[in-house]
């Protein structure tokens, strides 16, 4: 088949990093080509070169058989190349239609012709089967729909080659399904798609071919049908990856965390956590499964002291910590990997070393006397965690902002885990983290459990819940609808409960002997 795009021996050197080293890549008409690799392997760099955001130092780009120089995005757009970034570039107060035509506004005399803009967007969305309300404001749309607007924006500019940079990182599982449907439709209409991801399941579910990058070099390109999960993971990481965490049966001890009739409201006074009774014991992992937005975040924040409980009580050990300050909760023996490392877990403009003492910055040995900071202790702590948790690059004085997502997460995990807390909450601990780091973080979670921590794991990834938990609680609409031991749980059953199904209604055969 003809190639719509060929990239030959692309090389790009950044200060101190060879981001792309003689990478070949090609794209056929009407195919979905997955581009995978761990964070920092050079996938985004390669596509940013294609879109004209970077210039390659060496190598050639051929589009539809003609060699081209793409030195700015304008040129890429003229070549009918469109790119959807992980972080959207939308004007929030404007409508869908206004955003889509932005930069190519239709005019009626001196004025913007909003009626025609709406009409054109409607036509476009009908043509590609991408349902959207052109008059809705961006700020009112879900993340999934905002992404759809980005895709429409590219299509409006005539894109026949569509690049999506880790499009699923920000989506819920349902939204991922919707996105895949959209991409399959686009493919059927002849659009060629480059799909950047580091999630192997998505590659297998969606793509026709897959190319793997590792440390700036291409490891290989394969037809998706001829590969599998294990094989791809090995190509990405360069060694055998264990998907199933090796763990011994839990040795649960006494209760460490206990919630009694806990109710939490959001800032608008809406009940998000509804009279939850739940406890976690020493030496076990309790997984909370649930579609995001069912109260998990609020539950965790209430325990952490970051959100007030409307009613009910929380105990950590024999201390009551209901509505305590975050500092008090920490002092009671609490470690916490928050779901959003950028918003909560890190001060991105602090160095790695400074981030590694957040929360313990007021304790010995990091302060001398009562106030003076001990730089030496701060750096010793950093060197130790950097080595133990393999944070790369291993430079304590570097800003956290300049690290990849996986390494940023290792900062948070390393900091919280090395304090050996009695209660450890891990909320989405491997979100946006690459395969190798996921394996590592999972092993550390189990290690914490085996050392006697009570672990509360909140995750939207069913695999994660299933492979780590000793008990699984399902949260739906603010309530804990079921608590099961790990051996009673199947993925199918969890999915059913997470969507609001009741255990009593679960397929009669499967329920036999399991229902409580």
């Amino acid at each position: 088949m003809d190639k719509v795009l060929e990239m030959h021996a692309i090389t790009k050197q950044f200060p101190r990093v060879l981001a792309n080293d003689q990478v070949d890549f090609d794209l056929e008409y009407g195919e979905i080509h997955a581009l995978v690799g761990e964070n920092g392997s050079g996938k985004s760099t390669l596509m940013n070169i294609l879109y004209g955001l970077y210039q390659q130092d060496a190598g050639e780009i051929v589009v539809r058989g003609r060699p081209v120089q793409i030195n700015e995005p304008r040129v890429a757009i003229d070549l009918k190349i469109g790119m959807v970034f992980q972080h959207f570039m939308l004007v929030e107060p404007l409508t869908v239609a206004e955003n889509i035509v932005l930069g190519a506004e239709l005019k009626k005399g001196l004025f913007f012709d909003s009626k025609r803009a709406v009409q054109e967007v409607e036509n476009l969305s009908r043509q590609y089967g991408l349902t959207i309300d052109p008059r809705a404001k961006i700020a009112d749309l879900s993340v999934g729909l905002q992404q759809r607007v980005e895709i429409l924006k590219a299509l409006y500019r005539g894109a026949e080659i569509l690049i999506l940079d880790e499009p699923t990182a920000v989506l819920t599982p349902q939204e991922v399904e919707d996105l895949f449907k959209v991409l399959r439709t686009l493919k059927a209409k002849g659009t060629s798609i480059v799909f950047i991801t580091h999630k192997i399941k998505e590659v297998l579910a969606l793509s026709d071919r897959v190319s793997v990058l590792r440390r700036g070099r291409k490891v290989g390109t394969k037809a998706t049908a001829e590969t599998d999960e294990q094989n791809l993971a090995e190509m990405m990481v360069g060694r055998v990856v264990l998907f199933n965490v090796d763990k011994k049966p839990a040795q649960p001890g006494p209760e460490v965390l206990r919630m009694e009739q806990l109710t939490v409201e959001d800032q608008f006074g809406q009940v998000k956590v509804d009279q939850v009774d739940l406890s976690v014991r020493k030496g076990e992992v309790l997984g909370i499964a649930g579609v995001e937005g069912n109260g998990q975040s609020e539950l965790v924040e209430a325990i952490a002291g970051l959100r007030k409980a409307a009613s009910g009580r929380i105990f950590l050990g024999d201390r009551e910590i209901t509505n305590s300050s975050p500092l008090k909760v920490r002092e009671a023996g609490f470690g916490y990997v928050p779901e959003d490392r950028h918003r909560r877990g890190l001060v991105l403009d602090y160095t790695v070393a400074d981030n590694l003492i957040l929360g313990i910055h007021g304790k010995k040995p990091f302060v001398k006397g009562c106030m003076i900071r001990d730089d030496q202790a701060v750096y010793e702590n950093a060197e130790q965690i950097i080595e133990q948790y393999d944070i790369r690059p291993p430079v304590a004085k570097q800003l956290a902002r300049s690290l990849s997502g996986g390494n940023q997460q290792k900062i948070v995990v390393g900091r919280e885990f090395t304090q050996n807390p009695d209660l450890l909450i891990c909320a989405q601990p491997t979100r946006g983290v690459d395969v190798g780091a996921i394996e590592f973080i999972h092993q550390q979670v189990i290690a914490q459990r085996d050392q006697g921590a009570a672990v509360l794991l909140v995750s939207a990834e069913l695999d994660e819940i299933l492979s780590l938990s000793d008990r699984v609680a399902v949260m739906y609409n603010g309530k804990i609808v079921s608590v099961m031991s790990a051996d009673e749980v199947t993925e199918h059953k969890l999915g059913f409960l997470m969507l609001g199904g009741r255990l009593e209604d679960y397929g009669a055969n499967e329920v036999n002997g399991h229902a409580k």
């Binding site: 909560r344 890190l346 991105l348 957040l358 929360g359 009562c370 004085k397 570097q398």
Partner: protein, 347 residues
């Protein structure tokens, strides 16, 4: 990766310098417009501000209050707060220092002078902590309250100095402070006072607090990411009040220095925008104590030199105000300068 950190630090220095150079280049257009040679005018400007020890002393004397107010703005900025209230803090600090100066006469100098300085700091600190407290407790933006408090400070001290504490002469000012509360003049006949050492000390202390103490770690964390700070057990509200109180104390020192070192009494509306100039100084100094010192000296030099330029050429002294404005413009338009310097940011 270290090279990247260095490149960033390098940029922090290059952009303000480039802003100054660009402002002078554009300023030379104005000088040409009034029919003078820009090189001559700038030479006079430079010689008059740095050409002799005496000129340098005058420059430093003008720079001293700006060092304080620049630090006051920069310190709050590091904690994520915009201290537009330095002007009011200057007045409150100044009046408090003057009051101690003319009230407690008869004290020995080694008690009276420190007492007056402490009073000045306290006056500024209280005034600064009000918007800090209102922000921390009620979430009211500090800028609104600080602006309002500027007016209150201005009119309150107007009234105090012309009413209950009027000095008795026909001018709107208080009585003179006792000599035991006055700062030493370092290089008469210039009016450079020992306040310059207070300013340098304030810069050192500000730097030390911000980067070498637990408190500073918390303040900067709150400034950079309040949500992460909260997660890390840092009390955001408390740090907001502390940051504004410290900033206010430093601004109060500007007023203190002006009273104890220069005017030796409280004169109604003596400040003439020292607090607002502090915003410009902090901006140019990149909100770093060392940068603030240099920026204040530059602004002091421009003021010192402008008088001579006005006297010796037909360039009006208002040109200097234009140049100051242009400097601020170019610092604020950092992106533009980076483009001009072709310093490409690595995404």
């Amino acid at each position: 990766m270290l090279s990247r950190a260095k490149a960033i630090r390098w940029q922090e220095i290059v952009t303000p310098l480039a802003a100054v150079v660009l402002a002078l280049i554009i300023g030379s257009g104005f000088i040409l417009f009034v029919g003078e040679n820009p090189l001559t005018a700038y030479r006079i400007l430079f010689v008059e501000s740095f050409g002799s020890i005496r000129n340098l002393a005058t420059t430093l004397q003008r720079a001293t209050p700006l060092m304080f107010t620049g630090l006051a703005v920069a310190f709050a900025y590091r904690a994520g707060l915009f201290n537009i209230g330095a002007e009011g803090q200057v007045y409150m600090g100044a009046f408090a220092a003057a009051w101690v100066g003319f009230t407690f006469t008869g004290l020995p100098r080694f008690i009276h002078l420190p007492l007056a300085i402490l009073a000045g700091m306290a006056g500024g600190a209280i005034w600064g902590s009000i918007p800090g407290y209102l922000k921390a407790k009620l979430g009211i933006h500090e800028v609104i309250n600080a602006i309002m408090l500027n007016f209150i400070a201005l009119y309150l001290t107007d009234w105090l100095a012309t009413g209950p504490f009027h000095g008795g002469s026909w001018v709107p000012e208080t009585a003179r402070i006792s000599p035991s509360a006055a700062l030493t003049r370092l290089y008469p006949p210039t009016r450079l006072s020992g306040g310059i050492f207070l300013a340098l000390a304030a810069a050192v202390v500000a730097y030390f607090i911000l980067w070498k103490t637990r408190q500073g770690y918390e303040l900067r964390a709150v400034g950079l990411n309040p949500q992460a700070a909260e997660y890390g057990g840092i009390n955001v509200a408390k740090n907001t009040v502390i940051a504004m109180a410290v900033a206010g104390a430093i601004a109060g020192l500007a007023g203190t220095e002006q009273i104890l070192g220069l005017h030796n009494r409280f004169i109604v509306r003596f400040s003439a925008d020292l607090g607002f100039m502090g915003i410009a100084v902090a901006l140019l100094g990149k909100n770093h104590p060392v940068g603030v010192l240099f920026a204040a000296i530059l602004f002091g030099a421009l003021q010192t030199g402008s008088a001579a330029m006005d006297r010796l050429t037909s360039v009006p002294r208002e040109l200097i105000t234009i140049i100051q404005a242009l400097i601020i413009f170019f610092v604020a338009a950092e992106y533009l300068i980076r483009r001009i310097l072709r310093m490409r940011e690595e995404a």
